[in-house]
Symmetry: C2
Subunit: 295 residues, 2 copies
Amino acid sequence: MELRHLRYFRAVAEELHFGRAARRLHIAQPPLSQQIRQLEDELGVALLVRSTRRVELTPAGEDYLRRVIEILDGVDAAGRHARRIADGASGHLTIGCVGSATYSLLPRLVRSLREELPGVDVDLRGEMLVPALVDGLRSGALHFAVLRPPADAADLTVEVLRAEPLIVAVPEGHRLAERGSVDLAELAEDDFVVHAGQGRSVLNELAVSLCVAAGFTPFIRHEVAETSTLVTFVAAGLGVALVPEPTAALDIAGVRYLRLGHGGGQLDLAAAYLTSAHSPLIDRVLGLLRTAVGD
Amino acid sequence: MELRHLRYFRAVAEELHFGRAARRLHIAQPPLSQQIRQLEDELGVALLVRSTRRVELTPAGEDYLRRVIEILDGVDAAGRHARRIADGASGHLTIGCVGSATYSLLPRLVRSLREELPGVDVDLRGEMLVPALVDGLRSGALHFAVLRPPADAADLTVEVLRAEPLIVAVPEGHRLAERGSVDLAELAEDDFVVHAGQGRSVLNELAVSLCVAAGFTPFIRHEVAETSTLVTFVAAGLGVALVPEPTAALDIAGVRYLRLGHGGGQLDLAAAYLTSAHSPLIDRVLGLLRTAVGD
DNA sequence: TAAAAATACTCCATAGGTATTTTAT
DNA sequence: ATAAAATACCTATGGAGTATTTTTA
């Protein structure tokens, strides 16, 4: 049996007339009769009752017609869906994101995804550390990540979106809190709050090396998992923290953000995906992300 | 596009190997590659990523595979269902029934339908008069009827199931209530309760002609639509009624059923269906009904 | 008897086969 | 070097066409 048989049967069942059905199908009447006969033989079921004056559906034929219409519509729909997925207009995507991008960049990305690709359904995971993001991409749990460029990324395609200067978060009562800008060396005596993860956090590594370059080793007092927690700890007066500039979007009471003068650094923000899982959808998301960064 | 393309795609997508898929399909590998290529060209979508060492599905291909499996399963299911309907093991049936068969024959028929043809779903309408049953068959509202053989039945196939003797229903206080059997002539002075319908009821016609043959014209006091109402009216002392014997199954308090001696008659009970709507299912129901009558 | 489906036959498009080449590991 | 997919080419099945017959309302 082939779709041809189903298409032909549908035409005859809807026209209830072999001649008209054949015209509608752009074939001659005899081959149409043949194909319908074949279909009935293969099913072992009479679908139509013919006389020269009237063609009627049997009860089995009526049921079969309903199902055939569903099948033929299903075939069309399958093609349409495949095409939508192929050009990235439809599909499913899980996006992971580091903490500092969670509060400014991610909402902008989501808004433009909703507008530009309404057929795509997106799962989001914010507040993740870089090693977890890389693991997520490799395990297939994430399709796309916004992160700090990691060292071991041979199987990933990483595109730097922009460089973000580091700033300092200090509690409101801090001796430097009213300054607009400080040098890193001025923080030599302060307690530091950093991300947990045995130094595997890209931000931690940069922060420590900057401090060393500024002539001191930071005294790490607390380790936390999320950026929001980190800022809350600073607000509570438990120490200071070096964070990328967009973290300032996290406007928590009791925290002041200061620019860094001498000894400051910057950290790249990048998009990454598993090279082997590259897809049109990822390209379109990457395009939207570039725009979101530009805004 | 033909089902062949979908079957072949399914095989390749499940095997992820053109050679194995071709073996599973009992064809050679090159024509399989060709057909898959055709499918992709027609859809305008890459479904598979091939290298000589590995075949993988694209995201569009994964979605398409899911839908293709549904379609192919749907094609099989459609054939199975059509076959079930064609041999009467499945389908839908509306059965109409005269009042006197509603209380004994119809329940037995329904029980055996449930047992023998569980795939058939049945709608029942009991307590109908013969003209309404015939109209129902002709309009398509009923597929099958249990009735008294009507006069104008050229387009119906009518099969007599059995002859049912008429009996008399009298109220408990009636002067003849304690007799086992009466002659029709003894009811010459009684009020009669009959079915409504301007004499078009087959039972009414027989009853009147029997009375006339017994030498009197029945005095019709009440006309009712349902047999159950008719018996209730008799129980209430509003008159007597001639009813077919199975009506006695309707055991209402205050009613006595008496056999008829001289002047009695009998009424055929029959099954009927529209000859043009004859189907295997109707044959099977008719078979069950014959058994139910025999019990 | 006239309209429509079925049958008889013919033809060619194409599915599928065989042999070979290309390609990626 | 080798396994596997793609390409080239050929064969033959069967889908579709034309002409005709059969059927029934």
